[in-house]
């Protein structure tokens, strides 16, 4: 490549990299004259609870209220009403909660809680905890508060509407039922035996997909197929729902407790009997996953004799403190400056090539983390560590290649020949390194929740690193070297016989 062409190419490349780096890391500021705010790529991540905080909600069993609610309610009452209210609730030793004394509630017997209430609470809270575990959050917390209430925390990486849906649905302890209009379908009508249950009709519930649409798939047992074949003809079609008058619609509804999870129209029933309902955009299949978990759980347990009332959903600050992200960015900034400066000091202008590689790695990984798999790539401290390790690895591999070039040069070869030889000798070693790391990243995808996400992020870092070390930095080096007047100085090489001359 000619020198002029190389110079032009390097200038263009520098401009592009500077612009992209600015897009990636230039700090946020309000755009003058508008209400808009400039936000760099690194501020557009879905953050885990450790870095971004999250949401939480309290759940009280029906008939149980918090100390605050009790005192708030009591403070607005007077006279007999106040006395009645005081008598309607009681505290037990070891808990600040207030329990209904109403016999029908079946919570308190004398001065102690009934065994039935205790057992129901224990079983329901265990199942609720298992439901959140199945959602695969990297960080979540289900805790028993004061012995007989629940508090659930979810990370901020979950969009607020999806978090609210999960926080309200997964605590539903009702029974799974099918109803057509006001009539509840009785499994006993389709299955012999006294103990017929809804699980004798529904075989499996899962999330299916068709092109970019996700839907809830309900598969039936043979008895369930008989039921759906029977009712299918009486159901309205989805086109009827769109026509306006919804009062005359007949649908088969899937309910857990009072919550209607799906409305089955005649055209939702496939020829095989399988039902496909609640179509949503593929990106929102998380919603359906929540439905699937709830229905599966209700099918398996048959519901609980206890219901929870949810308090409002609230948000909380990052677990590791408000400014943790800023502090991390400062630390990463210092490291970035170090990996830009040190290679130049050590390897001369070849270090500048490493600098281009470093910035390219930063731009590509930062953008991929933010945009490639929106909603599923939450940034945790593990992500920061993977990014950091990748950044250093890219530079160490560059240094490794530089040493190989230097070794070739020390054998008396020309600079061009040394570069060629150095790259050739390290090529397969670098390929092997990245191949093993790719296998590692793929293996980590097996890991649950956070480790799975870490695997995805590692895959991005490894592929980007391989691209930078094997192709990109090599191409930049070729261009930059072509433009260089003194190729010895470029690599900081000194040849003794040249000195003699």
């Amino acid at each position: 490549m000619g020198k002029k062409k190389s110079v032009v190419l390097m200038v263009l490349l520098t401009v592009v990299i500077i612009v992209l780096t600015a897009l990636t890391v230039f700090p946020a500021f309000p755009v003058p004259g508008t209400v808009q705010k400039w936000n760099p790529v690194v501020l557009q991540y879905d953050l885990g609870a450790d870095l971004g905080g999250g949401y939480y909600a309290y759940y009280y069993p029906e008939g149980v209220i918090s100390e605050k609610e009790y005192s708030d309610n009591l403070s607005v009452l007077e006279g007999e009403e106040k006395t009645d209210y005081e008598e309607s609730y009681a505290q037990i030793a070891g808990s600040t909660l207030y329990f209904s004394t109403d016999e029908k509630a079946g919570i308190i017997d004398g001065d102690a809680l009934t065994q039935e209430f205790k057992d129901n609470f224990a079983a329901a809270s265990k199942e609720i905890s298992a439901r959140f575990e199945k959602k695969g959050y990297s960080d979540y917390r289900v805790a028993v508060v004061e012995g007989y209430a629940l508090r659930v925390e979810l990370p901020a990486s979950e969009a607020s509407d999806k978090a609210s849906a999960a926080l309200s649905l997964l605590v539903n302890t009702g029974e799974l039922t099918l109803s057509k209009g006001s009539e509840t379908i009785s499994p006993a009508d389709y299955v012999d035996g006294e103990n017929a249950s809804i699980s004798d009709l529904i075989a499996n519930v899962s999330v299916g997909s068709y092109y970019k649409t996700a839907y809830l798939k309900i598969e039936w047992t043979s008895a369930g197929k008989a039921m759906i074949d029977e009712v299918k003809g009486t159901l309205s079609a989805t086109s009827d729902a769109n026509s306006g008058d919804t009062s005359s619609l007949t649908t088969l509804d899937v309910l857990v407790g009072e919550e209607k999870l799906a409305q089955i129209f005649s055209d939702n029933v496939m020829d095989s009997g399988e039902v496909r309902v609640n179509p949503v955009d593929g990106h929102n299949s998380d919603y359906l996953k929540t439905f699937e978990i709830l229905i599966d759980s209700a099918l398996a347990t048959g519901g609980f004799e206890i219901t929870f009332e949810a308090d409002a959903v609230r948000s909380f600050e990052p677990v590791y403190g408000k400014n943790v992200l800023t502090l991390l960015y400062i630390a990463l900034g210092v490291v970035l400056v170090a990996v830009l400066v040190l290679p130049v000091l050590k390897m001369g202008r070849y270090g500048i090539v490493s600098g281009y590689g470093t910035l390219s790695y930063l731009i590509v990984t930062a953008m991929c983390f933010a945009f490639i798999t929106s909603g599923t790539l939450e940034i945790t401290l593990g992500s920061v560590l993977v990014f950091l390790a990748g950044l250093v690895l890219v530079n160490v591999v560059q240094y490794h290649i530089y040493n190989a070039v230097k070794t070739e040069f020390d054998l008396g070869k020309t600079v061009e020949s040394s570069v060629k030889g150095g790259y050739k000798k390290t090529l397969w070693g670098v390929i092997d390194l990245y191949a093993v790391l790719t296998l590692g990243a793929l293996a980590l995808l097996i890991g649950g929740a956070g480790v799975h996400t870490l695997g995805l992020q590692m895959l991005i870092c490894v592929v980007t690193g391989a691209f930078v070390n094997l192709l990109w930095a090599r191409a930049i080096n070729f261009t930059y070297l072509s433009a260089s007047k003194n190729k010895y100085k470029y690599f900081r090489f000194v040849r003794e016989d040249d000195d003699d001359e």
Binding site: V142, R314, S315, V334, V436, L437
Partner: protein, 320 residues
């Protein structure tokens, strides 16, 4: 110099015994005391100060200062505090499960009652103080531990297959042993040092396995590229990738020290955990990989010599 030092520490039995002792100790300590889960993932006591939205938006700092003052007066230290926004706003102070909060609650209630009374400094504010004991149902789900362990094991198997096919069988064994040892040793040190365990510790363990793989591959690469007619010991002496391992350890370690120095206490624990993972991987790369490599290499050389009918090999066998 460093290479020679690494190659000298080639007594695999000695290193294995040290690693085994650390692992065994960590198992015993964990069996006796349990995993030391971080406060964010374990049982805790909370003190919640609920404040009406208007007052919270305008005077949060004052409420917070009052809380801190009362807690300091009673010498009660909290592990962290959170600010919660919703229809109602709360300041939540989180304490260890052994902290007694009745006195703090009574003291804060009295302070806020005085301030919010008619004509008081904070007239019109609604502030409520409550305490609660929280018992975590799940710390880190067991399934997450199992899946992470399976992922590391699969990584070791895949690395073995790749390296064995590309290089030599014993090199594949070396790479997979490095990966497994890196993860196990890091986990053992974290458990033994009683570092507060969070899901971030799982990441550090997994990344330690990845770093061990990187270090092992660098070394195996160098040894494989050495075509000289020297002995296995000499090849190993020149082959340990000390420069690469030192560079990665110095940069990543430096960054972690920096993060630990400027960040909050919780991130500091993560930085320490990650540093343990990094140092464990370096130890594996510098000492354990050469120590595992050499006997495996000698074994294969001997097997190859036996197969070729080399007389020296027979006499060696007899001596053994």
């Amino acid at each position: 110099m460093m290479n020679k030092l690494c190659a000298k520490c080639k007594n695999v039995t000695f290193l294995s015994v040290i690693i085994a002792i650390v692992v065994a100790l960590s198992i015993v300590i964990t069996a006796i005391f349990g995993v030391n889960y971080a406060k964010t993932a374990s049982n805790q006591n909370t003190l919640t100060v609920s404040v009406n939205r208007y007052f919270y938006d305008n005077r949060l700092a004052d409420v917070q200062a009052e809380c801190e003052k009362e807690l300091n007066k009673l010498s009660i230290a909290y592990t962290y505090h959170g600010e919660m926004n919703g229809d109602e706003c709360e300041l939540v102070y989180v304490f260890s499960e052994t902290t007694e909060l009745a006195a703090a609650k009574a003291s804060l209630q009295a302070t806020f009652a005085e301030k919010t009374k008619d004509g008081g400094a904070w007239d019109g504010a609604f502030i409520n103080v409550s305490t609660a004991k929280e018992q975590a149902l799940v710390n880190i789900p067991a399934a997450q531990f199992v899946k992470a362990a399976v992922a590391v094991a699969v990584f070791a198997v895949l690395a073995f297959i790749y390296v064995a096919l590309r290089y030599r069988l014993y090199m594949g064994v070396t790479a997979s042993v490095a990966i497994l040892t890196g993860a196990i040793f890091t986990a053992a040190v974290i458990l033994l040092a009683r570092i507060p365990f969070t899901s971030a510790c799982l990441y550090a363990i997994v990344i330690s396995a990845v770093l061990s793989a990187i270090f092992a591959i660098f070394t195996l690469n160098k040894i494989r590229a050495d075509n000289s007619e020297t002995s296995a010991e000499e090849k190993l002496e020149n082959g340990v990738a000390t420069r690469e391992i030192a560079a990665i350890t110095a940069f990543v370690g430096g960054a972690l020290v920096l993060v630990g120095a400027i960040a909050t206490w919780s991130v500091r624990w993560f930085a320490i955990t990650a540093l343990i993972g990094l140092l464990s991987a370096s130890l594996i790369g510098l000492l354990f990989v050469p120590a595992v490599y050499l006997p495996l290499r000698k074994r294969e050389d001997k097997a190859a010599a036996n197969k070729s009918g080399y007389v020296g090999a027979e006499s060696q066998k007899t001596q053994d």
